[in-house]
């Protein structure tokens, strides 16, 4: 393997536990190369632990963590080429956004004048290069705080960005803006590892996804493969309709349907038709045709298993 192709981040058999025998990561082995990698898992899965280990905030109890072939807990020089955006707010909140970024630019090694220029540059990237940058951070909305945190991570144009839940609590405009920013950075050759507990937040621009659950790496691969995992496991679909029995007749003959169940909530005029399918991809193709041909009024369709938690439960069975 040539040097250029070597993975930036290597976790080998890493276990990290916290006080009270809380497991953060459990015999976790993974490596991350270039592009955008999404760390996806429910809350408490170990995503933040992964990023904290990779940024030397904490050290593993067992195992080896290497970033650019260096131990991030022992060798701070690794951070010259790494930007980190923590999940929690980490501000001196009475400071203005500009002051905050400037101080951190100085900590990165910029002189006073250069720090000012760099601050302007990174604030521009996150679209905060206006009068808002001169306001105290305490007055910022959640979205603006997220942007400032991302801005400080961009100081020095690092090759690798580690972003812990960068979309958490952000408004749709901020989410869209941050998403575009990450894509632009990827085009410039920046590698990004970002965590989220929502798959669709990261799948739009992630090249690779790593599914983490209860401190273990459950699955990894390109987005389409991970998405396929979701479609490969049995799905339950809930259809709220005024004629569930009538509608069931149309579904019962479909090969993609494994079972049907009807429930009648007493407080509703509608009934619920539950459909279990082993082949969601085929089922979802057939669904519109069946609904049109049945001419039954449908109030709501919901795929209750089309979420990560269901996939995790399926994969860990």
């Amino acid at each position: 393997m040539s040097k250029e192709e070597a993975p930036f981040v290597i976790f080998y058999n890493v276990t990290k536990w916290y006080k009270g025998n809380v497991i953060g990561l459990n015999q976790f082995t993974a490596q991350v190369s270039g592009g955008i990698t999404g760390l996806v898992g429910p809350n408490g899965a170990g995503k933040s632990t992964f990023l904290k280990l990779a940024t030397g905030q904490i050290k593993p109890n067992i195992g080896i963590v290497r970033v650019f072939n260096k131990d991030p807990f022992r060798d701070s020089s690794v951070f010259n080429d790494l930007g980190y955006c923590p999940e929690q707010d980490a501000f001196w909140s009475w400071m203005t956004g500009k002051e905050f970024v400037e101080i951190l630019a100085k900590a990165k090694g910029y002189s006073k004048e250069e720090a000012k220029k760099e601050t302007t540059r990174v604030l521009k990237i996150v679209s905060l290069d206006d009068e808002r940058a001169d306001r105290p951070i305490i007055t910022y909305s959640k979205g603006m705080r997220q942007r400032i945190k991302v801005a400080q991570a961009l100081i020095g144009s690092p090759s690798l960005l580690l972003l812990d839940e960068p979309f958490a609590g952000a408004d749709p405009i901020t989410r869209a803006h941050l998403g575009r920013t990450f894509e632009d950075l990827r085009k410039e050759g920046v590698s990004i590892i970002l965590s989220s507990h929502v798959l669709h937040e990261v799948e739009q621009f992630a090249d690779q996804i790593k599914l983490i659950y209860r401190g273990r790496l459950l699955a990894e691969g390109p987005v389409r493969d991970i998405r396929a995992l979701i479609y490969d496991h049995p799905h339950r679909i809930k259809i709220l309709t005024d004629s569930p029995r009538e509608l069931a007749k149309y579904f019962v003959s479909l090969p993609s349907v494994k079972s049907l169940e009807i429930t009648d909530p007493s407080n509703l005029h509608y009934g619920i038709l539950w459909i279990l399918t082993h082949n969601p991809a085929v089922f979802y193709k057939e669904l519109p045709k069946v609904l049109v041909s049945s001419k039954v009024h449908v109030e709501e369709i919901m795929s209750v298993d089309d979420n990560l938690q269901a996939v995790f439960e399926y994969l860990t069975q």
């Binding site: 040097k3 250029e4 192709e5 070597a6 930036f8 916290y18 190369s33 270039g34 592009g35 904290k52 940024t55 030397g56 905030q57 904490i58 050290k59 650019f68 701070s76 020089s77 951070f79 010259n80 080429d81 790494l82 930007g83 980190y84 923590p86 929690q88 707010d89 980490a90 501000f91 001196w92 909140s93 009475w94 101080i103 951190l104 100085k106 900590a107 990165k108 090694g109 910029y110 002189s111 006073k112 400080q152 020095g156 144009s157 690092p158 090759s159 990827r186 085009k187 410039e188 050759g189 590698s191």
Partner: protein, 309 residues
């Protein structure tokens, strides 16, 4: 934009994934740390009202100090080195004087505790700043304030007491006098090293600076009480039993070369039960120095092991 298009039959864009080593030219590490120390000094000075309050307090203490110096010089304390040692130790810049404690509380709560509570640890430790360098920056920045609060009184008390003894400018610069000022400044550094290590170490465990004050202020009063009781009981090493808060004056007496006899004469009563001042003072000095090293070592160890939760 670095982009490959070897998949000509695909609309997918494949971007550069190779690692390009970071080659940006930055300031030397020394400059980075100096910048950070300066930023930290400025950060401690915020909010501004706290520093204004300390300046006012300092000014009031100058007035009080001048009155003390006047009392010492016109009263029964007749010998110059003794009056200076006594004045240096009195009240606000003893080993754990009130001002020191207030300042220590404020500095501690705004240095490490602040980073801990705000989560800013994560921002420091995700830059090319080792834990040792982080400690160095914090220690020097708080030492800047603490030392200034011990040095400033030492200087003006030297000048004021000299004035009461009709010092000429030449007298101030004479080595036998000037060396006493240097000793006073050195004593200030010792006080700073002890208090700074203690306070910074405590600040790693508490969320609010007030908790540190609650822990430390009673120590001062317990120490005073023990000092009085052991003195009344005529214990040979009475001052040593009282602990570091009471060591300051004996370290100064020892460093200034004041004998038991001089001490008795100046205090106006016999202290013949006491072990030689040179012995008490030097032991007190070694204890404070040892404790400072121990506390700093503990602080260093804690910082090295620090994990950002």
């Amino acid at each position: 934009m670095v982009e490959n298009d070897y998949k000509s039959n695909s609309s997918a864009k494949i971007y550069e994934r190779g690692y390009r080593p970071w080659k940006r030219q930055m300031q030397p590490k020394k400059m980075v740390l100096l910048n950070l120390i300066w930023e930290e000094i400025k950060l401690i000075a915020r909010p501004r009202w706290v520093i204004i309050m300390f300046i006012i307090l300092r000014f009031l203490l100058i007035v009080k100090d001048i009155l003390t110096v006047y009392g010492i010089s016109t009263g029964f304390f007749q010998q110059f080195p003794f009056s200076l040692a006594y004045a240096i130790n009195v009240g606000n810049n003893s080993m754990m004087g009130v001002t020191d404690l207030l300042l220590a509380y404020y500095v501690a709560s705004s240095v490490i505790s602040r980073d801990r509570v705000s989560g800013a640890y994560a921002l420091y430790f995700s830059r090319d700043i080792s834990r040792t360098e982080y400690l160095l920056v914090k220690f020097i920045a708080s030492a800047f304030y603490m030392t200034s609060f011990t040095w400033l009184p030492a200087i003006y008390k030297y000048v004021a007491i000299g004035a009461f003894y009709d010092f000429t400018p030449i007298d101030y610069l004479k080595w036998k006098n000037f060396s006493l000022l240097l000793i006073s400044l050195g004593y200030g550094v010792l006080v700073m090293a002890f208090l700074n290590s203690l306070i910074l170490l405590l600040s790693m465990f508490v969320k609010k600076g007030w908790y540190i004050a609650i822990i430390i202020i009673p120590l001062r009063y317990i120490s005073d009480t023990i000092a009085i009781i052991t003195f009344l009981l005529k214990v040979k090493y009475a001052p040593l039993y009282a602990g570091p808060p009471s060591y300051g004056e004996y370290i100064l007496y020892w460093a200034f070369g004041i004998s038991n006899e001089q001490l008795s004469n100046n205090l106006g009563f016999q202290i013949d039960f006491l072990a030689p001042i040179s012995k008490i003072g030097s032991i007190a000095f070694l204890i404070v120095l040892g404790l400072s090293i121990l506390l700093f070592s503990l602080l260093y160890y804690k910082i090295q092991k620090l994990e950002v939760q």
